[in-house]
Amino acid sequence: MAESRLAARKDAPALRVVLRYAAICAVALALFAAVLLVAGKDPLKAYADTFRSTLSSAYGLSELLVRMTPLLLTAVAVALPSRLGLINVGGEGQLYMGAWLATAGVLLFPAWPRWLLLPFAALLGFLGGALWAAIPGVLRAARLVNETIATLLLNYVAPLIISYSIFGPWRAEGSSAYPQSPAFPEAAQLPTFFDTRIHAGFLLALVALLAYWLLLEKTRWGVDMRAIGGNPEAAQRLGIPVATWVVVALAIGGGFAGLAGMGEVMGVHGRLRQSLSPGFGFTGFLISWLAGGRPLGILFMAFLLAIITSAGDTLQITQGLPYAVVNILLALILFLVLARQPLRGGAK
């Protein structure tokens, strides 16, 4: 009796959370529909098309998983440093640098056998993102530059490095209008599953999420991280090396975003392109923030935002609107969540 009451009480908030998000999404969708109507578009058709292209077929679902792959990884890239109270808005740039360094590895050693090349390039992908994120990490640890503004600024530098490379040393012959790197050899393509475009990066993303959960809940490090997030000065006095943690957390997070970039070039495009990401890094930030950094929440939100950002593609293909318009829908969801927060600074 007592047990079932307890269970009921535990279930109620979870149900309420789901209902609350459902209500927020419904209101945001309604508001976005109004925006589309004003713009002279047909929102109902847009929503129906999005549903048809994502949830109503096995192919659509498989494409959702393809899209979730970079979203999960960039969300973990934000969630991990956020445990320390760090705000990493640089997932986009870290993704690009991961893709860049992985490409460098593939183009340097194209003749390596697959069993060696794949892990090597994946490692480089991780490293690319990690080093890129370590820059703001070091600047923050030395109390020189706030990590929010530094990660944001570096987002604008990373795509320029990609452009420099594919317009210059890595330019494939014959790619004049839209320069890109040469196609990767067979050995550098991530394996795909069940005749879909789902690639090994999706498994990596799930492993990353699991590792994040384990780190957080099951290790001594997770306790240290939470201590720093709660009160850095007290943590410092307890002997926790706060500055080191700041750099390491941002670097590991950036590494996950780098893996996302590696997955895009080696699993989806098969070469390095300028248009690697329609803002995956930013969407990953939203996912982590909406999920409060909780692993299961990240999984759920990544699925939800994969559907929502698919709406961007639908708008582009069937309604002749730029993909970027879908950012309005993302912003509306955020606005509603922010406006609904409890008035006294959340749970204390």
């Binding site: 925006v35 713009a39 705000i87 808005v89 600047l139 109390r143 020189l144 530059v145 706030n146 929010t148 503004i149 530094a150 944001l152 600024l153 570096l154 987002n155 604008y156 530098v157 320029l160 490095i161 452009s163 420099y164 317009f167 210059g168 803002g279 930013f282 930030f285 939203l286 923030w289 609107l321 730029p322 993909y323 970027a324 318009v325 879908v326 950012n327 309005i328 829908l329 993302l330 912003a331 509306l332 955020l334 606005f335 922010l338 406006a339 927060q341 008035l343 006294r344 600074g345």
Partner: protein
């Protein structure tokens, strides 16, 4: 460096520094009231696209400019509703506003991509135009916003430091509780600061599309909003110092354009990185001193005094 290159860089610095200066001034007012608006990038984009679209439809750049200012103001009021009325987290709200700006500007600008517009009229005072060395450059050939840039900085400085209103805004930024106790209304002052900041941000965006590029392209502000936020720190929340900062960054941009136009051997993509790297460097050099100059309650939520 040759004289023409130097004059070209100077002329370009002033022109591209203009929008940075307006954006920095706007953010300075907002931050002086204790709020951090990371959504400035979104405001600039909205200003650029609304300004361009209205100009393309009406054929009148002044109407475009006015609409951009109004749109920037409205967007900042939305931010105010979140962080002042609903007491939401400022950083997250700012980023939400950035997304909003990405989307709204793309939607508003989409029908007018590639439109040809007549931008803000530029002129050169007659007595200066008569000099032959002036005629050889684009120096002193500016639109109204550029001519008014330094007066605008002076005006913002005067408002913040020499008026009752400015004292109130700064008091709220230092300690909303104390400002409230001395009979001021922190929420009202913050909303007023946000309106002024949004207006200036809208103008800054519009200057990009109506004077500098005369086109609309998605994400065309390319991080200028974040550079402006860094400039606020660099200028220690002082509108007059912001002039120097805006010129420095305008100069970096102009130098890079001049080098590209002259067929420099350095890749244009590497040159394009300069503003962002320079911003990081500037923050590195001046970041340490910020805690002394920043408004004491910057970024904190005021829950009322009870």
């Amino acid at each position: 460096m040759s004289t023409t290159l130097m004059l070209g860089v100077l002329a370009g610095a002033i022109l591209s520094g203009t929008s940075l200066l307006y954006a920095t001034l706007g953010e300075t007012i907002v931050e002086r009231s204790g709020l951090v608006n990371l959504g400035l990038e979104g405001i600039l984009l909205i200003g650029a696209s609304v300004g361009f679209s209205v100009t393309a439809v009406t054929g009148n750049a002044w109407l475009g400019l006015g609409a951009a200012a109004a749109a920037g103001c409205l967007a900042n009021l939305l931010f105010g509703w979140l962080v002042v009325t609903r007491k939401a987290n400022q950083l997250a709200s700012g980023l939400a506003l950035m997304f909003f700006g990405f989307g709204v500007s793309a939607l508003v600008g989409a029908p007018h991509v590639g439109a040809v517009i007549v931008g803000l009229p530029k002129w050169r005072p007659a007595w200066l135009g008569a000099q032959s060395w002036v005629q050889a450059t684009t120096l002193f050939n500016y639109d109204l916003l550029t001519w008014l840039a330094i007066p605008a900085a002076l005006l913002v400085w005067w408002c913040l430091f020499r008026t009752r209103w400015g004292l109130g805004v700064r008091a709220v930024g230092e300690s909303p509780g104390a400002a409230f106790a001395s009979g001021r209304n922190p929420a009202a002052l913050q909303f007023q600061a946000l309106s002024a900041g949004g207006l200036l941000g809208g103008l800054a965006g519009a200057h990009l599309s109506l004077s500098l590029t005369l086109t609309w392209a998605e994400y065309m502000t390319a991080g200028r909003g974040f550079i402006a936020i860094a400039l606020v720190i660099f200028s220690k929340w002082n509108p007059l110092r912001a002039v120097a900062g805006a010129l420095l960054f305008g100069g970096a941009e102009a130098l890079q354009l001049q080098l590209q136009a002259r067929g420099s051997l350095i890749s244009p993509f590497l040159l394009d990185m300069t503003p962002y790297l320079l911003t990081l460097l500037v923050l590195l050099a001046w970041g340490g001193a910020r805690r002394l100059a920043a408004p004491a309650s910057l970024g904190r939520t005021f829950y009322g005094s009870d």
